[in-house]
Structure formats: C-alpha cells, structure tokens
C-alpha cells in the first residue's frame, strides 16, 4: 500500500511547515520585542535597554483601560444580541425547506461584501437623525450589520448537519418545549453556538470604520487609540497598544480551542 517516495520529501515538508509556523508567530514576537524596550535604535539587532515600565504605564493609563473595557462591552453585547437574532433564523434556514429560502440567503450575504465605508456613511445620517449617533447602543447596532450575517451562516451550516430526529424522539417520550431545548438541542448544538459567538466577538472586536462613523469619537474603542498612537509614531507605545488590542481575541481563541478544532473547520466562513 505504501508508495515509495524520494527521501527529500519529508525534510522539505518539515522545513515548509516549520517556516509556516514561524510566519504565523513572527509578527507577534516583534510586537513583544518592541513593547518591552526603553531604547532600541537602528542598527541594533536587539534592544539596548529592556524595560517593563512603559508597558505598565500604558496598561494602567485610565484612558487605555476605559477603551479596553468599552471594546469588550461592545463586542460582548454585539455577539450576544447577534446570537439571539441569528439562532432562530439559522434554524429556519438550516432545517426547513421553504419557498424563498435561497433569496433570503442571498439577502444575508450582501452585507458581507458591501464596503464598510459605504455602510457607515449612509447610517451616519440616519443615526444622527434618530439620536443614536455617539451612543453605545448605536455602535452595537451598527456592528450588527457585518456581524449578524456571519453568525447566521455559521449557525446555518451547523443546523444543516443537525439531526431533528433526536427532538422527535424526545417529543415521543413526552418532553416539553423547554426540556427539549435544554436537554436535547442545546447539548447537541453547543460547540457550534460557541464558535459562532466567538466569530461574532472577533468581527465586532476589530471594527474601526463603523465605530468611527457612528461613535463619532465619543465611544472610544481600542482601535481608535491604536490609530492615534500610530500617528504619534512611538514604536514602544504602538507595540504595547497592539498587544492590548490583540490580547483578548487570543485569550478567547485559546479558551475555546477545543470547540474550534472540532467545529471550526466546518464553520469557517468569516475573517475579522
């Protein structure tokens, strides 16, 4: 059964994979190098002086902490609202055949390809008019536009593979609506729901333009601070804020890794 292979195949493949892993991790390493240096001028290969102080200073700055908290609040609120709206929609799309199903899918697909610039500009006027501009609620609502379709698609592919027979079984055994949901449906769909919520969190987390258009500089999230740090030009500050911005998504991914490796491959529809 085993076919003979040239003996260079294995080392080349190992080198290739190692190189890829390096590529995935390298930029994160660079940010860490810059974040903990006091002085690091060209052409020094390694920092002349290491220091933890700038990192601590940025981490304890009230403005930065507020932005971190706002970012987390916006992303958590957006992903939870999105989950509640997307769950019934995805169940309909995934488990039922009905006239107009393809049109609805197409309708949900369109917001994922329309540029955020176009969306933000249009909604800016509407939100100003109804008093949602510069409010937390307004930012959450505008984040729903890119987040909701992804949540729906992720959950739809989950429900498309879902076996309704388990629920019928429970009905036959005399279970009530809530009993079915808690004891049959939820345990079955939980991994997919976790992954969908995670994607929603990440899509909302990295929004910059939509927050800018609707938040109007009043609702300050981390990417706003990061952009102003970039125009400030201090590499240490930029690197530290980048780490603060990158930290929560990495923590969330690591915490849900076990669901992702089981489910994520099937559900991968979004980037952030």
């Amino acid at each position: 059964m085993n076919v003979k292979r040239a003996n260079w195949v294995v080392p080349v493949r190992v080198a290739f994979v190692a190189g890829l892993y390096g590529l995935l991790l390298l930029p994160i390493g660079i940010l860490f190098l810059h974040a903990f240096t006091a002085r690091w001028f060209y052409p020094q290969l390694v920092p002349q002086e290491w220091s933890f102080d700038p990192f601590w200073r940025q981490l304890t700055l009230p403005g930065n902490q507020e932005a971190l908290i706002t970012s987390i609040q916006v992303a958590v609120a957006t992903s939870l609202v999105s989950l509640c709206i997307a769950y019934p929609a995805a169940r309909a799309l995934g488990t039922r055949a009905f006239a107009g199903r393809n049109w609805v899918s197409l309708l949900f697909f369109i917001p994922t390809v329309v540029p955020p610039v176009a969306m933000g500009m249009g909604l800016n006027i509407l939100f100003l008019r109804v008093g949602l501009a510069s409010t937390f609620l307004g930012v959450v609502l505008v984040h729903l536009v890119p987040v909701l379709p992804y949540t729906i698609f992720t959950l739809t592919s989950l429900f498309a593979r879902y076996e309704l027979q388990y629920e019928y079984q429970a009905v036959v055994l005399g279970a009530g609506r809530w009993q079915i949901f808690w004891m049959v449906t939820l345990p079955l769909v939980l991994p997919g729901v976790v992954v969908a919520t995670l994607f929603a969190f990440l899509v909302s987390w990295s929004q910059y333009l939509l927050t800018l258009f609707i938040g109007g500089g009043r609702v300050l999230t981390l990417p706003m601070l990061l952009f102003s740090a970039v125009s400030g030009g201090n590499p240490t500050t930029i690197a530290i804020l980048s780490l603060m911005f990158m930290g929560p998504p990495l923590v969330v991914i690591a915490a849900t890794a076990r669901y992702l490796t089981a489910e994520g491959g099937q559900a991968q529809r979004s980037q952030y």
Partner: protein, 291 residues
C-alpha cells in the same frame, strides 16, 4: 395547519430580516440619495448625477485621482487575492500531504486569524520598514550600509507592503476553508488515482483542485471584497498617493465642505457596485464550471 407550517420559517427569520432591512436597507437608501445630491442637512433637495459626473468624467483633478485610486485598489485586491489563493492551495496540499492537518496546526491558523488586521499591519511595518528588524538583520550581515539601501517594502507606491500584509493574513483564512473541504471529502479519491498511476501533479490537477475549487472561489470572493473595501491596512502600510478608493471616499466624506459628501457617497456607491459585479461574476463562473 398547512398555512401555519408555511408561516413558521418567516416568523423565525423575522428578527434578522427586520434588523438587516432597517440598518442595511436605510444605509443604502440614504447613501444613494446623498450621492445624488439629496443633502437635507444643507437644505439641498434636488436629485442630480453631478457628483458622479465630477468623479468619473475628466479631465479634472478629482476624476484623475478617482481613476488612479480605483486602479490601485483593484490592483492591490486582485494581486493579494490571487497570491493568497495560490498560497493557501499550496499550503493545504503540501503541508498536510495525505495526512489530516493536526489540531495544533488548525489552532495556530485560528490564532493567526484572531490577530486583528490593524495589529498585523503594524507588526509588518515594524518588521519590513527601512529601519525595521529585517533591515537591521541585513545590516548586521553586511548586505546594506544605511537604511536607505534597504528596499522600500512598506509605504511604497505600488502597494507591495499592503499586498504582503493581505497575502500573509489571508493564506491562513483560505487554508482553513480548504482544510475543511478536504476533510469532508473521502480520502480514497487520491488513493485510487495513485493506484491508477497518477503522478502527484496529476492528482492535484484532476482530483484535489476540482474538489476544492467552489470553496476556494467563494472564499476568494470574500477576501477580494474585504480587501477592496478595507481602510485600516492601507492607512498603515500605504502612501498618500496613490491611495485606495476607501480612503478617498472617507476623505471626501470628512471634508468640512458638506457639499463634498455627495462625491464621497458616489465613490462608496461605485465601490459597492464593483464588489457586487465581481461577486456575481465569480458566482456565474462557478456555476458554469460546475455543470
């Protein structure tokens, strides 16, 4: 009872449809209206194509800049998407071979995906700039004498830095899509082809590629649309001229002269139309080839 059955899916879909119809629908309506010069906040209530004419028909500085921006955005998006798609295909095929990708590999790909585009762009600029880490390594090896000797890889005229950013960030995304498809296909196709004497290249060309093509095309469309509309990465890794259409639209929109909002909106509407045309074209291509 029958009627109720038919009603249920729509009841379940209602919240999602309502939210998207109100938010997305009004943003489109307001956007198009403003691009036609319907600017109520400055008391203007006429509908004209003046903004479109100013942008599209030259010779004028605005039209010149718009067309060069559109060309630049199309170049960056198309080049990044094609390179990333080819790269992802290579990674998915070479790195996994005939085994399944391990959980560690998939986890690392997700980890890369979770790094926001903005952060990735910043990291790349610290790495590739003329005084960045790569230039320092080159200097230490004696390849360059001053930072100016190092090639301009970020904030360059041709968008090399932007393309490098998107290629490195989108390869993991597309690879995950490909791995999911490959995992759901029976492995035996390749084994049969090999037993029938197909070479590695033939297996890739006639077995693996046709299997993954629809998914790869759909993923590439998402990537293209994302890059074409994105603002953050070109803002970090690009130059002021030529800049992307997204940056140009935003510039018009933020102009203190509110009259110019019509131009900003017109550019956005054109951007949206470009993306929809590309998406429909890709969909059509996929349908035709699958048949």
């Amino acid at each position: 009872m029958r009627l109720r059955e038919r009603f249920i899916p729509w009841l379940l879909l209602a919240p999602a449809l309502a939210v998207l119809a109100v938010l997305f629908g009004t943003s489109i309506v307001y956007g198009v209206a403003q691009s036609l010069g319907y600017l109520t906040f400055i008391g203007q209530r006429t509908l004209t194509f003046a903004a479109y004419e100013r942008i599209l028909i030259g010779p004028s500085p605005i039209a010149t800049e718009f067309w060069s921006s559109l060309g630049f955005s199309l170049w960056v998006s198309a080049a990044s998407t094609l390179l990333a798609a080819a790269g992802a295909l290579g990674v998915a095929v070479v790195a996994t071979g005939r085994r399944e990708a391990g959980p560690t590999g998939i986890f690392l790909l997700h980890l890369n995906l979770a790094v926001p585009h903005l952060v990735w762009a910043i990291a790349l600029s610290l790495f590739l700039a003329q005084s960045g880490l790569l230039a320092r390594i080159a200097a230490a090896l004696g390849w360059i004498a001053t930072p100016a000797d190092f090639p301009v890889l970020v904030r360059d005229r041709y968008g090399v830095g932007i393309i490098l950013d998107y290629v490195t960030k989108e390869i993991p995304f597309l690879t995950l899509i490909l791995l999911a498809i490959l995992r759901s296909q029976p492995r035996t196709y390749n084994v049969i082809a090999e037993n029938l004497g197909a070479t590695a290249w033939q297996r890739l060309r006639y077995v693996t590629f046709p299997l993954v093509r629809p998914g790869l095309l759909a993923g590439s469309l998402l990537v293209f649309a994302f890059i074409f509309g994105a603002y953050e990465v070109p803002a970090i890794l690009g130059v002021r001229f030529p800049r992307t259409v997204a940056a140009l639209a935003l510039d018009f929109f933020l102009n203190p002269d509110l009259q110019q909002r019509a131009e900003g909106m017109a550019i956005s509407v054109i951007m949206a139309m470009v993306v929809v045309v590309v998406a429909v074209g890709g969909y059509w291509l996929n349908e035709r080839q699958t048949r």
